[in-house]
């Protein structure tokens, strides 16, 4: 398949956001994925979130690995730079890029094969470093692009299209991220745009690493009876545990929430995440409680979704590196090169 540009038609009635762009301006080239693929719905949610956040595409850097999921960054924000890394190694690209230029908004897209098998090591370490980026794991339980092998997130007992049954324990990215000290952990479903868009917005605004695990059925290889990542299974077993809403600093807190049922968490940039419908035993700021809650619900056959854990104040990777707050790209050479006289002084140690 070669590149397919999308015809650009601007309808006068299209709404414009604060930076003067319509939703269409956040699109990319035409998707070449299978019709009905969950990944395309996530692309649509990313476009919506970016538009609503008034992101200037120029200031966004899109990152991905290899897989059907990792192809999707060409399908959104066509006027943003993108980087398609080697399989499973997108986190290192993000880490190096973000350490160098923190002024960009980093949006990473990966798959369950890319993240949980070949790239598991890099995923773990990018979480530990708390690199400031959103990391969208488009989780379909299979390797789509290589035609349907089980991935490391396939559930025990789930059946592949050719009939094999998976017997190995799955890796749950949300639980994994919690144990590794992630500062933002969310789960959603590609078919639930209403839930996904605010989560993505909060993840983009979060200062630090935001893991968004999105169940995203593969219609070609993993949407049949017996698959736990099919549309049908997911719709029946997803449990919206936590309904999180996101408001920008300028919007202020909406009054419609009943006190008591809402927990508000303010992000460093002033935007606010509201947790609604929060069950009593759930506290999005308590890592151990969240972990226990997820395990318990899993035991009951549920897949809890929502913004599950949030620590807005943890130091991010650049804080740990104690790097200047500006982009290293813009530092003038004179500030980087100590010059001849300094060299002569330095060399006295070697005489």
């Amino acid at each position: 398949m070669t590149h397919i540009p999308k015809p650009r038609i601007r309808h006068p009635s299209l709404r414009i956001n604060a930076v003067g762009l319509t939703r269409r301006d956040y699109e990319g080239s035409m998707s070449t994925l299978c019709a009905g693929c969950g990944h395309d719905s996530i692309t649509a949610a990313i476009i919506e979130a970016a538009w609503e956040l008034d992101l200037e595409p120029r200031t966004v850097a899109k990152l991905s690995g290899i897989g059907c999921s990792s192809k999707t960054p060409t399908y959104f924000l066509g006027t943003a730079h993108g980087f398609n890394a080697v399989h499973g190694r997108m986190p290192s690209i993000g880490t190096g890029a973000q350490a160098t230029n923190p002024d960009l908004t980093y949006i990473g897209v990966s798959g369950d094969g890319d993240s949980l098998a070949i790239g598991l090591g890099q995923l773990c370490h990018v979480i530990r470093r708390n690199v400031d980026m959103v990391y969208i794991l488009e989780n379909n339980g299979v390797y789509g692009l290589t035609k349907g092998q089980f991935s490391a997130s396939a559930d025990v007992g789930s059946r592949a299209k050719r009939g094999q049954v998976n017997r190995q324990q799955p890796i749950d990215p949300a639980l994994l991220a919690l144990t590794l000290g992630a500062t933002f952990v969310a789960r959603s479903f590609s078919g639930d745009k209403a839930q996904l868009v605010p989560i993505l917005k909060a993840g983009i605004r979060h200062r630090g690493f935001a893991l968004v695990d999105v169940i995203s059925p593969c219609v070609a290889f993993n949407d049949h009876e017996g698959s736990t990542k099919s549309y049908r299974y997911t719709r029946e077993n997803l449990e919206e545990a936590v309904d999180a809403d996101f408001t920008l600093p300028t919007a202020g807190i909406t009054a419609s929430y009943e006190p008591g049922s809402v927990r508000a968490v303010t992000l460093p940039d002033g935007s606010v995440v509201h947790f609604r419908k929060v069950p009593d035993e759930f506290d999005p700021g308590n890592r151990d409680r969240v972990y226990a809650y997820l395990r318990e619900r899993q035991g009951a056959g549920e897949i809890p979704t929502g913004l599950l854990y949030l620590d807005p104040d943890a130091p991010d990777h650049r804080d740990t590196l104690e790097t200047v707050s500006t982009s290293l790209v813009d530092l003038p050479f004179e500030e980087l090169c100590p010059g001849r006289e300094a060299l002569e002084r330095l060399l006295t140690d070697f005489r």
């Binding site: 730079h81 880490t95 200047v324 790209v329 001849r340």
Partner: protein, 627 residues
């Protein structure tokens, strides 16, 4: 052969007992006496307890290559006594600790044994087991000072520089060095005929290792990102970079760093971080050794194909696999030249010493950004970790980095459309853009097939078009690479082609051959791809020896592959067992491989006989078939 300002001392100790500071003290003291000196640290891959050796070569004539003929051995490790005693040249000396009797079967009649009760002296004068062990090293330095006529003022001055602020430490070091010195003066006929005399041959020079020099080069080049994973012998490069940055890269206002040094989880991530940093416009590098290069290969191919700069220091050690981590080799030439699957070729720089590590570090960044491609600096353990005497590093304040063709917002604004891989001016290097600058500059960097417009493609012609341009770009890069070092003399029909740290041994071997009447020319390649000069040099010589340190003649193969010069007309010479190359290795290789040996090229212009005699003479032997 040996004598005044011309001798080699080998010091045998146990790893982890603090001998490094004593060895460093001796090196620097000799250097400060104005006498050229080189040190080879032969250390084990271990933290404590295994044997370790330090070889100090003093050469008033300025020869820096390893010389494996030892005039004096300091035998401080009972576990290696037999071997160490056996290595002293006939007529030489063994300095040993006579606190215990030396086994009679270790004795040799043709060497002089100098016993000093170092352990007993230290036990009598100092408290604490650790302190006694450490100061024993300083005490043997004192003995050496007396034997070799090392100026005590210089030695004590150095101790003061090191311990000046710690009075107690300084006093005990003074005492230890005096203990050894006085004992030797009293009991032996000092100095030995093999001794030092003040010279003025190190003025304007420094004593530095290649990793430190390369790190300084990175600072001066304006590198802003280093990502790495620890591996001997490259670790000290990033350690040094970090240390320099702590001094030189603090923002005065905030106290924060104008640099990011990231310890990655492995080399795959390290090089990924470098590629990511370079993609957004940083000057980024990594430092590693062979095993790391193997892991980095996939990303290196991506950087080549997506045209993203990356500077990679490969401080080579012996392979294959883990190999001998603390021994030197030039075994990664092929791997680096064509790293990664598919058709790739990379720019390589070959520093010969720490001075070139500094200069080539800076060049590597410029070349990498100019050609938008990975650049390797192929150093090795010997250059990287040993102290070398080199001319003081110089810097021109007029230097400005070559960032290559990078379009800014204004340029992009003026353009109708921008296409990432379109060779607009015919030099094979399309301009690049950085994220965040201008929406028109946006493109998708990828390792998958792309056309000249930067679009995904599976079309044969569109793919081939880009691949052909890439080949042109890299093949043409020799024009900007450091030129070969060429030494010519009239009448020479023998040529030596070499690279990197072999330089010192090659030049010394050449000097000896010339003395014996054999004119020899030398060409040292300093970069890859090779320029036309290299092929011309080989063509111009009846006999060309290729001097390198690996088993499979990798430089020879690269020369044959890339210049089309017939492989059969090249003779490989060198050693690859992990030791730095010596002039003797070169001469012996020429004697066996080049003349009447396996690689006989007697059909060539210089006759066997003409060659054989001077090579044998340079080795101090008679040639085969000579009376």
């Amino acid at each position: 052969m040996s004598g005044l300002n011309d001798f080699t001392v080998k010091i045998a100790t146990v790893n982890g007992t603090g001998s490094a500071s004593a060895n460093g003290l001796l090196m620097k003291a000799i250097f400060r006496m104005g006498v050229p000196v080189s040190g080879k640290n032969l250390f084990p891959s271990n933290i404590q307890g295994l044997p370790t050796w330090y070889e100090i070569r003093v050469s008033g004539a300025g020869h820096t290559a390893r010389r494996a003929e030892f005039d004096l051995v300091v035998a401080m490790n009972p576990a290696t006594y037999a071997r160490d005693v056996a290595e002293v040249r006939s007529g030489g000396w063994v300095l040993h600790d006579s606190s215990w009797p030396l086994s009679p079967d270790l004795r040799r009649d043709d060497v002089t044994f100098l016993g000093v009760p170092l352990a007993r002296l230290c036990n009598e004068h100092f408290e604490g087991a650790r302190v006694r062990i450490l100061l024993k090293n300083i005490a043997y330095s004192g003995v050496l000072a007396a034997l070799l006529q090392l100026e005590m003022d210089v030695v004590e001055g150095l101790l003061e520089e090191t311990y000046g602020r710690k009075k107690a430490l300084l006093d005990s070091n003074f005492e230890a060095v005096r203990l050894g010195y006085d004992y030797a003066k009293e009991h032996f006929d000092c100095p030995l005929p093999t001794r030092l005399e003040r010279l003025d041959a190190t003025a304007g020079h420094i004593l530095i290792d290649g990793n430190t020099a390369a790190a300084l080069g990175c600072v001066y080049a304006g590198a802003t990102v280093a990502a790495w994973y620890p591996i001997t012998p490259s670790t000290s490069l990033v350690d040094a970079f970090q240390a320099f940055c702590t001094k030189l890269r603090k923002d005065p206002g905030s106290g924060r760093n104008r640099v990011a040094v990231i310890q990655a989880e492995d080399e795959l991530a390290a090089v990924g971080m470098v590629v990511g940093a370079s993609w957004v416009g940083g000057r980024a590098f990594t430092a590693t050794s062979g095993p790391g290069i193997s892991l980095m290969s996939e990303f290196i191919g991506l950087a080549y194909y997506a045209e993203i700069p990356a500077v990679i220091f490969d401080v080579q050690r012996t392979g294959p696999s883990t190999g001998m981590p603390t021994r030197t080799q030039q075994g990664d030439l092929m791997t680096a030249a064509y790293a990664s699957h598919g058709d790739t070729k990379h720019i390589l720089l070959f520093p010969a010493d720490p001075g070139e590590c500094f200069a080539m570090a800076v060049q590597a960044f410029d070349l990498s950004e100019h050609y938008q491609t990975p650049v390797f600096v192929l150093s090795d353990l010997d250059i990287g970790m040993n102290d070398w005497v080199v001319p003081a590093l110089g810097w021109d304040d007029a230097y400005r980095p070559d960032r290559g063709k990078v379009l800014d917002a204004e340029a992009l604004e003026r353009m109708e459309r921008y296409h990432r891989y379109l060779d607009v001016d015919g030099d094979g290097i399309p301009p690049r853009t950085l994220p965040g600058v201008h929406p028109k500059g946006a493109y998708f960097a990828r390792g998958s097939g792309h056309d000249r417009y930067g679009r995904y493609t599976e079309d044969a012609d569109a793919y081939t078009d880009v691949m052909e341009r890439l080949a042109r770009k890299i093949d043409g890069s020799w024009e900007r690479l450091p030129e070969p070092e060429v030494l010519m003399m009239p009448g020479a029909e023998v040529g030596l082609v070499t690279l990197g740290g072999c330089r010192a041994a090659v030049l010394e071997a050449r000097e000896r051959l010339v003395e014996k009447g054999l004119p020899v020319n030398v060409l040292r390649v300093r970069g890859f791809p090779f320029g036309p000069q290299v092929g011309e040099f080989m063509e111009a010589h009846g006999r060309t020896f290729v001097v390198e340190q690996n088993r499979d003649h990798q430089l020879l193969s690269l020369l044959a592959l890339e210049t089309g010069f017939p492989r059969e007309r090249l003779v490989s010479v060198g050693s690859y067992g992990g030791m730095p190359l010596s002039a003797r290795d070169v001469l012996e290789g020429m004697a066996s491989g080049g003349v009447g040996g396996e690689g006989d090229v007697s059909s060539q212009a210089a006759s066997e006989r003409e060659l054989r005699a001077p090579i044998a003479a340079a080795l101090g032997r008679r040639a085969r078939g000579e009376p």
